[in-house]
């Protein structure tokens, strides 16, 4: 009898081990709708997650430090405005086609022709396939940020697109299927509901067994739904857009918190063309009156984790030109009063308009904080809620741009050029990023020097100068350096978002599924 039980136990244990060994692991996460699968149109966070997993780029940011390493490219060199990349041999697309320099040229041409997403990064750039494994890019002018911009040029399988397309650039095809070299291929894609991806075992770098076999990226889940799903063990990683109190509640219930220290910040942008903010002393008064410490407390999630870190200046910590972490900004009402006294306008004659974007409820809290801070100086202000679409329309003219606009902005390539040039160069006034309408020759010169510098030291010097000049001009109140926080189940390990030495420093790249480990 005992032998029978023992035998039974052994069989049961073997079956259990076998089923565990062969059980498919599924990672479930969510993002805001919609998921754009076409890599040439990718711009949002969900799009980036899809792009970084289904496609590959010539270079990737180094993990845990500055600079870039080759990915599809083995090496590169530059001479003036010409960059030459040597491609890795033996890389296959998911279709089985071999990746060559022609695919790189096609990917650039396609992105430029469609003109969507982040294609503006490649304006004025042309590419030529020197041979199958060498591609040469020619720029209009030297640009030190060009290599960084390569992280936004996913390489598309030209032969596959040409063979299956129903329109000139295969837009219909690539909005529903994958044509990349990435570690995951698309099984099913519904842009409003879910994208299902499966691990591609022939990935050129190989994929660890512990990486999820299947990934289900869901779109548009409500906070209450995500909270219930995670509590029931039916969801693994929540989007960063959950309210802080929900992330905290999930953390209190045992969820782990993943962080992605980005390359961006939260800004209060002042319209420098509108009285009284066309006077630098008036702007300095407002910047000094802002309560930075309370702003940081408002975004704290737990005692240890926050959705941001204190701002030290105009450039986020970790980028070229950033100030040290000992230079945290703080409210200084005495300085504010002194600046106010030096201001050529009487604030009593003005009612400062503080806008907030309707889709980001957190901004209303910051608007109320500003109103309270300004009231301490006797400055009148009113709060205006603006839907994003209306805001983007209004900032196209200085007269319609509010006195103060609140914005999250990040460097789409991780390079300070893509964060700062669009915000502050006088050639880009009146975009959603530049409601300051700043027009300063010194700022322009620093930005151009940062772009043209041939060495890291040169870039550091240019951006440090820019930082100092921007702080002096006080066109922007630098609220905090942004950090994305994600609540996650303990079924998944994400080293790129828990270990700073593994972090990429680029939004969305932390969600490289091939680098994740499923524990169940």
């Amino acid at each position: 009898m005992k032998l029978k039980y023992l035998l039974g136990s052994v069989v049961a244990a073997s079956a259990s081990i076998a089923s565990a060994a062969f059980a498919e692991t599924v990672l479930r996460l969510d993002e805001v709708a919609v998921g754009e699968l076409d890599p040439a149109k990718a711009s949002d966070y969900a799009d980036s997650i899809l792009m970084f997993n289904v496609y590959d780029t010539l270079v990737l940011p180094n993990q845990g430090g500055p600079g870039h390493s080759g990915h599809l490219a083995e090496s590169w060199s530059s001479e003036g405005a010409t960059f030459t990349f040597n491609l890795r041999d033996g890389v296959s697309f998911q279709s089985g086609n071999t990746m060559t320099a022609k695919d790189v040229v096609y990917s650039l041409d396609r992105a430029q022709a469609l003109g969507s997403g982040l294609s503006y990064l490649f304006a004025g750039v042309s590419a030529e396939a020197i041979d199958d494994s060498t591609v040469q890019f020619t720029l209009g002018a030297p640009n030190a940020a060009f290599v960084a911009s390569m992280v936004r040029l996913p390489i598309v399988d030209m032969a596959y697109v040409e063979a299956n397309k129903s329109d000139e650039w295969g837009e219909s095809l690539l909005s529903g299927t994958s044509a990349g070299t990435g570690a995951y291929s698309v099984v099913n894609h519904n842009p409003q509901e879910e994208t299902v991806m499966a691990k591609w075992d022939d990935y050129f770098l190989g994929v660890a067994d512990a990486a999820p076999d299947t990934v289900r990226l869901r779109y548009g889940l409500e906070a209450a739904t995500v909270r219930t799903l995670i509590a029931q063990g039916e969801h693994d990683i929540a989007s960063q857009w959950l309210p802080p109190e929900v992330i905290k509640a999930l953390s209190d219930n045992g969820a782990q918190l993943l962080t992605e220290t980005g390359t961006g910040a939260f800004y209060f942008k002042m319209n420098t063309t509108k009285a009284p903010l066309d006077d630098v002393n008036c702007r300095r008064a407002l910047a000094s009156a802002f309560d930075y410490a309370t702003a940081i407390r408002m975004i704290a999630i737990t005692d240890d984790v926050s959705a941001g870190s204190p701002s030290t200046g105009a450039i986020p910590v970790g980028m070229f030109g950033a100030n040290g972490t000992n230079m945290v900004q703080a409210q200084d009402m005495d300085a504010a009063k002194a600046h106010m006294a030096a201001c050529s306008y009487d604030f009593a004659d003005y009612d400062i308009e503080v806008s907030w974007i309707a889709e980001v409820p957190l901004e209303e809290r910051f608007a109320l904080l500003m109103q309270s801070n300004f009231a301490q100086l006797g400055i009148k202000s009113h709060i205006k809620k603006l839907p994003w679409a209306l805001f983007a329309e209004q900032v196209s003219s200085p007269e319609n741009t509010p006195h103060i606009s609140q914005l999250f902005v990040n460097a789409v390539t991780g390079d300070p050029d893509t964060l700062l040039y669009g915000m502050y160069h006088s050639s880009n006034p009146g975009t959603w990023q530049s409601p300051e309408y700043l027009n300063d020759a010194e700022v322009d010169a620093f930005l151009e020097a940062g772009r043209a510098a041939g060495s890291e030291a040169g870039r550091q010097e240019a951006y440090a100068g820019l930082n100092a000049r921007l702080m002096d001009l006080a066109a922007t109140i630098y609220g905090f350096d942004r950090q994305s926080v994600f609540a996650a189940s303990n079924r998944v390990r994400v080293p790129a978002m828990t270990d700073p030495s593994m972090a990429f420093g680029l939004d969305g790249l932390g969600f490289s599924f091939r680098l994740m480990e499923m524990t169940e």
Binding site: E36, Y120, Q192, E193, T225, T228, A389
Partner: protein, 342 residues
């Protein structure tokens, strides 16, 4: 029969005129919503040249009458254009999202009628007694809270604390069903997968109940009020005097005339659920047309707005035609008045 055909033809004629009116109105309103659709579609980093190019492709620089002409020309050929929100043909989006909403709304409608009317009859039959008080209290409770509140409450009660129902979606991950009609209740049967068929119904129940609850209360209250009024009519007193059984009086003499006003309201409620389903769809992660509709309005996706509104308007009109026909069947005076008019 010919009277009913006459009513049908008249209603269809009116519906076509209404649809044209709706298309003109929405076409104009969609263009008044703040924001440049091309700028929104291309994203915040698009250059002025890219925006100008897309505006040209969308005829946005033309006169609004000419724009409407382009829209009608494409509509006649079955082309609703491309959605700037999903970057796919609007017809494809509607084909994908509409069945999910129709499945949800249809079941919610059945629940609303199946529970609302009997509860109303029960309350009227036992008016001013405890069943009446109970039904009225329940009806008040369900009517006073909007669908999305019920959605969250039901999800917490029946999926979180008591894990009886799934939390999100239309079908569990373990099933891969080929989408033939888009109606998963049908597609699972076509696939011959009974387990998946049951799973679809399992997913449907909670959101459908959440959507139906306020309608149930309204239908019950309306039916009760109409029946109580009918009970005071002399012919009911006469039936009672003749000694007819109370349930016969309720079923035949009180319910049928009371149903006509209830039916009109239920018909409107049923069609309105298409729009109201948005929040329930959001809570249960239901990939339906209502959610799509709200998202495309927020993004000023002109083609998708037109497509969604026209489909909802069309469904609304179809339901109204069915209700009108039912009322005509139930009420001979309406059939007669139609004959006299014609």
């Amino acid at each position: 029969m010919s009277q009913l055909v006459g009513i049908l033809v008249r209603r269809i004629g009116i519906s076509v005129v209404v649809l044209i009116g709706v298309s003109m109105l929405i076409f104009a309103i969609a263009r008044i919503i703040p924001g440049d659709p091309a700028r929104i579609a291309l994203g915040p980093n698009a250059t002025a040249e890219q925006i100008a190019k897309l505006r040209g492709e969308m005829h946005l620089d033309e006169n609004i009458v000419i724009q409407y002409g382009f829209f009608i020309k494409d509509l006649v050929s079955g082309d609703l254009g491309t959605s700037l929100y999903t970057n796919r043909p609007v017809t494809l989006d509607i084909a994908q999202f509409l069945p999910a909403t129709l499945e949800l709304v249809f079941l919610a409608g059945v629940i609303m009628v199946g529970l609302g009317l009997p509860l109303g009859i029960l309350a009227a039959r036992f008016r001013n007694k405890w069943p009446d008080h109970l039904v009225r209290a329940l009806a008040l409770l369900t009517v006073s809270a909007p669908s999305f509140v019920w959605a969250v409450i039901l999800m917490l009660l029946c999926a979180y604390y008591l894990p009886l129902f799934p939390i999100a979606g239309r079908l569990s991950d373990i099933y891969e069903i080929e989408r033939v009609t888009g109606f998963l209740t049908i597609d699972t049967l076509i696939a011959g997968n009974v387990a998946a068929f049951l799973d679809v119904w399992h997913h449907l129940i909670l959101p459908a109940v959440a959507l139906a609850l306020s309608g149930i209360g309204q239908a019950a209250r309306l039916t009760r009020a109409n029946m109580v009024e009918t009970y005071e009519k002399p012919y009911i007193e006469m039936a009672q005097a003749y000694g007819f059984f109370p349930h016969r009086i309720a079923r035949i003499y009180a319910f049928k005339p009371s149903l006509i006003p209830s039916l009109t309201i239920i018909g409107l409620d049923f069609a309105a659920m298409l729009g109201n389903a948005f929040l329930v769809e959001a809570v249960f992660a239901w990939p339906g047309l209502s959610r799509y509709g709200v998202n495309v309005i927020l993004r000023k996706d002109l083609n998708a707005i037109m497509g969604t509104v026209l489909i909802i308007a069309l469904t609304f009109l179809i339901v109204n035609i069915i209700v009108d026909l039912l009322i005509a069947v139930l009420n001979p005076r309406i059939r007669h008045s139609t004959r006299v008019q014609s």
